[in-house]
């Protein structure tokens, strides 16, 4: 009778993409970029000029009239929300022991993340800085030239 013994020190063959590894890399790559994006965002919105008091509809419209800030805010939306959601996924997997609960929480997280990404992108890319019928004193000054 022959007994075949598996060769020692061979790891089981894994197939396909190692998603956990790419998630791990994403947390670090996005983290480095987010340092620049978030502190730039906080500095321009809270430290320059009157800070938080200056923020209103006209302020946002003025920023998004510049493609630079459209790109900045879009990157911020996607990188931060996906980074945060993937971090929350780690935490759900750490604490939600029951498979049913883990499934519910994970799907709720995925669903809310996708909804907010789509909503945020739609808001940025369908934004109208001079909505018809709005009082002129709430609008950015450049609306006067257009209407």
């Amino acid at each position: 009778m022959t007994v075949s013994i598996e060769t020692p020190r061979t790891l089981p063959q894994r197939r396909g993409v190692n998603w956990e590894k790419w998630g791990w890399i994403y947390m670090r790559a996005s983290g480095v970029v987010l340092v620049v994006l978030i502190f730039g965002h906080l500095f321009v919105n809270l430290m320059v000029g009157e800070g938080v008091h200056a923020i209103d509809f006209a302020f946002v419209a003025g920023k998004w009239a510049d493609p630079f800030w459209v790109v900045w805010d879009t990157l911020l939306l996607f990188l931060a929300l996906i980074h945060g959601a993937n971090g929350m996924r780690t935490i759900i997997n750490d604490y939600a022991q029951k498979p049913g609960l883990r499934k519910v929480l994970s799907w709720a997280l995925l669903g809310s993340t996708v909804v907010l990404l789509v909503l945020g992108a739609l808001v940025i890319f369908t934004f109208d800085p001079c909505p018809a019928g709005s009082p002129a004193d709430l609008l950015p000054s450049f609306c006067g030239d257009i209407n």
């Binding site: 670090r28 906080l42 938080v52 008091h53 923020i55």
Partner: protein
Amino acid sequence: MPEKSAGALADAQPVGRKQAVEQKPQGLRVSGTLYRGREGMWSWVLHRITGVSIFFFLLVHILDTALVRLSPEAYNAVIGAYQTPIMGLGEVGLVGAIGFHALNGLRIILVDFWSVGTRHQRLMFWLVWVLWAVLMIGFTPRHLMNVFGG
């Protein structure tokens, strides 16, 4: 780790370490499996708490910003809530949480990728707090002047 394996590894420990371990008062032992980590544990705890807090703020922040698509009046009404004194103090807490998470995140990345990062992780933990203090000293007075200065 050194504390637990002290018995088995005593001979392999450098003299200074060995003495430090032996001088540890035995009466302070906690039974069971309570993990009492040092700087590394607290950096993890705080990184997790700040990460979750920022995540929930971001959910709300995307929704309030989405009101620019509804009407200038709706957006201005909601953003007005961010300009009250209480929210102004909350923003100091938010920036403090983001500041720690960002700086400690960079520390984690250095521990992972810098060849001597693990050796300096404790020093870098305290460096995070130094840089955090600099950040908050720069941010807080100016922000509170904006909030309370009218």
